[in-house]
């Protein structure tokens, strides 16, 4: 199944290439991208990754989502914000994973999580740990603001560049 960041990566690659049309089919997912004038991203599948697409784009199964390429990132991200009324005004920053590994939301199992939705953060605030091969990487917020959304779950394997949190920038 395709993850949001994989789709995003594909869009970027297609965008930077001289390809006009791109079709990708795998495990029941069909992804078509067209680049002429108004670009189109269409997800045609009944077995879409639930956690990604259903929450992100509630009508994706029926309607093709039309986006112009430069806005692809915001189009995909915008619907996952829980507080749309505040999100409209505030700038959002996405904290992404700098490496592949296991996501931990707390310093140890059962401990208080580093942050929750609504937690204020500074640039240096540790928001989570990503671990691989017993290397523990404490991820800092890198911006000042407030945690708007937690995009991954405790113990989940996260990819390089995968969005972990969105932060409402102060």
């Amino acid at each position: 199944m395709l993850k949001v960041q994989e789709i995003r990566e594909l869009i970027r690659l297609v965008d930077q290439s001289s390809i006009d049309e791109f079709t990708f089919e795998n495990e029941g997912i069909k992804l078509i991208m067209k680049k002429n004038n108004l670009a189109e991203v269409r997800e045609l599948s009944a077995s879409l990754p639930v956690q990604v697409i259903n929450t992100a784009l509630p009508q994706a199964e029926q309607k093709p989502v039309e986006v112009s390429t430069p806005n692809v990132e915001t189009k995909i991200e915008a619907p996952v914000i829980t507080n749309p009324e505040t999100a409209e005004e505030a700038k959002l920053h996405t904290i992404t994973s700098p490496m592949v590994g296991t996501f931990y939301n707390a310093p140890s199992p059962g401990a208080e999580p580093y942050v929750k939705i609504g937690s204020p953060v500074t640039k240096e605030t540790i928001v989570c740990i990503v671990e691989a091969m017993k290397l523990f990487n404490e991820i800092e917020a890198d911006v000042e603001g407030e945690i708007a959304e937690i995009l991954v779950e405790e113990g989940q394997l996260v990819e390089f560049g995968q969005p972990l949190f969105s932060v409402k920038v102060k």
Binding site: T102, A132, F136
Partner: protein, 330 residues
């Protein structure tokens, strides 16, 4: 280090390799008066060093005490930077915590924090790491590699290789590595490695390598629940092991491998790691937070990730797990 004079004095004794050096020569080498030399030698004696003094011949460092002090470690160190700055403590909650703070405050690459005892030593998932006084090597080393963050986990495998080489050099014991970096002797754990990374805007600021080696513990020093799964070097050879020498050896091998890694990449380290690896080709069980996988350990890939082939022929990439090597194939 307490002072440069002290450091120079130890350097002079190290270079003399057990021969006598005259007080005058010592004074000239280290740039202080003969009275000051005498004062520093008295301090060394107070720490347990046996310094012989013979009229007209000078001074000779006779015996090294089997204690772990910064001077003891510094005296036999053969590195350019790993271990050149030593922060020694009699007791600490955790060397990792102190090293992290030192790193944030600009400590140089190779800085070593070592404690004779840890009261809150920790392993993966905050499991306690038993580190009683005077028995083991409880240390954290700061490095600052200019590599992409996603490559940093390779350094934990590199550290395991360095620890194996140091132990083999000092004891002749056969040590194996269990993925990713546990050291085992006859299936029992003797060394654990836990590494922490600090980054700013996707640039590595520092990596703190925490290493715990069970050196001189006897069975009764371990809590009972560890008896069947942990061992010490001393228990394996029925002898006391010189901890300072082991630290020196660890620094030496770590620096050598680290330099190799920075110039040639992970490939040569991978080959060494595989040559010590215990689990390759064996039936193993990997417990992760998202489930348990059983299958054959195929080896590691270019990132150091464990490749596990399950019975349905699928290959799982394992990034974080507790590994058990199934008893039948041990």
């Amino acid at each position: 280090m307490k002072s440069t004079v002290r450091q120079n004095l130890l350097d002079a004794f190290r270079n003399a390799a057990g021969e006598f050096i005259s007080g005058e020569k010592l004074a000239n080498t280290i740039g202080c008066s003969r009275t000051a030399v005498w004062k520093h030698i008295e301090e060394l004696r107070n720490e347990g060093f046996e310094v012989e003094a013979i009229r007209k011949k000078g001074y000779r460092l006779a015996e090294h005490p089997n204690t772990l002090t910064e001077n003891e470690i510094y005296l036999g160190l053969q590195t350019k930077y790993i271990g050149k700055t030593i922060h020694f403590y009699e007791s600490l909650p955790s060397t990792q915590q102190v090293a992290k703070e030192l790193a944030l405050n600009g400590a140089t690459e190779g800085t070593l924090v070592i404690s004779d005892e840890q009261t809150l030593g920790r392993g993966r998932l905050a499991r306690a790491w038993h580190s009683p006084k005077g028995t083991g090597i409880w240390t954290s080393i700061i490095i600052r590699p200019k590599i992409p963050i996603q490559q940093a986990p390779q350094l934990t495998l590199l550290t395991a290789v360095a620890a194996v080489q140091a132990i083999e050099e000092q004891t002749d014991i056969d040590v194996s590595i269990k993925w990713p970096n546990d050291l085992l002797i006859n299936g029992k754990k003797v060394c654990g490695i836990l590494t922490e990374l600090q980054a700013e805007e996707n640039q590595i600021q520092s990596i703190i390598i925490g290493i715990g080696i069970n050196v001189n513990q006897q069975l009764t020093d371990f809590p009972e629940e560890l008896h069947s799964i942990a061992t010490s070097l001393s228990m394996e050879v029925n002898d006391k092991i010189n901890r300072a020498k082991l630290v020196q050896s660890l620094c030496f091998h770590l620096e050598k491998l680290y330099e190799t890694y920075l110039t040639l990449g992970f490939q040569p380290i991978k080959l060494l790691w595989e040559s010590y690896a215990l689990s390759i080709g064996k039936q193993i069980t990997a417990r992760t937070l998202n489930g348990t996988y059983s299958g054959i350990a195929l080896g590691i890939n270019e990132q150091g990730v464990l490749l596990l082939e399950t019975s349905d022929g699928k290959i799982q990439h394992i990034y974080s797990a507790d590994i058990e090597i199934d008893a039948l194939n041990r």
